[in-house]
Subunit: 222 residues, 2 copies
Amino acid sequence: MPASERYPEPAISVDVVIFTICEGALQLLLAKRQRPPHQGKWALPGGIVDLREDLDTSALRHLREQTSLTGVYLEQLYTFGNPSRDPRMRVVSIAYYALTPAARLSAQINLEHNRLRWFTFTTRPNLAFDHDAIVDVARQRLAAKLAYSTIAMQFLPERFTLPDLQNVYEIILGRAFDKRNFRKHVLALDQIEETGEERRLGNHRPARLYRMKRPGQVEVIK
Amino acid sequence: MPASERYPEPAISVDVVIFTICEGALQLLLAKRQRPPHQGKWALPGGIVDLREDLDTSALRHLREQTSLTGVYLEQLYTFGNPSRDPRMRVVSIAYYALTPAARLSAQINLEHNRLRWFTFTTRPNLAFDHDAIVDVARQRLAAKLAYSTIAMQFLPERFTLPDLQNVYEIILGRAFDKRNFRKHVLALDQIEETGEERRLGNHRPARLYRMKRPGQVEVIK
DNA sequence: GCAAAAGTGTTCCAGATACACCCATGT
DNA sequence: ACATGGGTGTATCTGGAACACTTTTGC
């Protein structure tokens, strides 16, 4: 017996808040809507979940299809189901958020036909549907997770410097940290190690490069 | 255009993990399945979301209809969407968890026709569908929230003693706390106040009764 | 030599931990 | 009087916060 004969069914979609840190700001990747409703407005990448597709898989697929991004950190955020959140029909959306290093952007995304654009979190336009609320929840979750996980390193390339990492914290949490205390803290977590290499960049002392001891894994700390 | 003409639609359900603390143990309320699949197995209360019904509202409605419980603390937990989690059809389930004081149980729930029963968390049977996984995630979330919120008080009646509260923590986290340190800690949070009353119970010194300063609100602390 | 960012240690404070005895009650 | 659980204070430890100067490089 097919579903449609049993219950009136809402549609199921996934929406993905894609964060990166670039040019000293938290940025998110948005897609301009090509059709009504909200035609011309910016919205989160995402779409309908296939009937035989896992939710995480669907989020990754829409991410790949619409932005060419792969290999990002992805986590389920919250499910938004207000009956009037989409004017056409009932759509329940499982929201995800994804983090990616800034380095990947130019390589993987061609920002095809200006349908895709990065916006800084603070200067983004008003979004379609309830996507403003989704983005706000995502940022709150991200900020909370910085305190008790190694999630911040998902914004950085494989090798990074301690000032890089400190920047991630300062941008997302919106306040400055003491350099010495910060270094002491993250090194005490025993999650990163020196590579032995340095990065020379500009008229100043080179910075040591570090790497995660367990690359790709987001660990709960403390 | 109705949904069924556009996409093959998964069904949407809510499932609710209902926790209480009773007789020194964390307990959860389960319903015996009356029909296939998994007929005769125990499962979480829940059901299909109405087409024009908010998700939270749906969870509260199924809770009320199936268990008579109202006024509980309710929070969205996670969304489970494995395509084969229900053998009949694709069902995406938004899982919730609810907390209620033990005192309400006898009053509100008649455990109608033995279809409903409380089980201790540790001795519960294997559940229908993927409900074992849902219950595990709920317990993890609950334990994590004890550390940084006032959620524990949702297990207690309006007026409660400090040993009551300490019991909640010890049962959920599975370890003992020092009585003096515990009292110092929770009083320093400035979330509860003395009522001036005492509870005499048994052959020993009466315990002071406290109440939440903002009843019903779960506050993030520290 | 100078500008610019990287790197480094110590002191202080607050919150967490460890720990043992007296109190009020009912029987 | 005694059994039962409720209530109290201090010393110590540990992790976080505050704080300023030296190092290395490119120009």
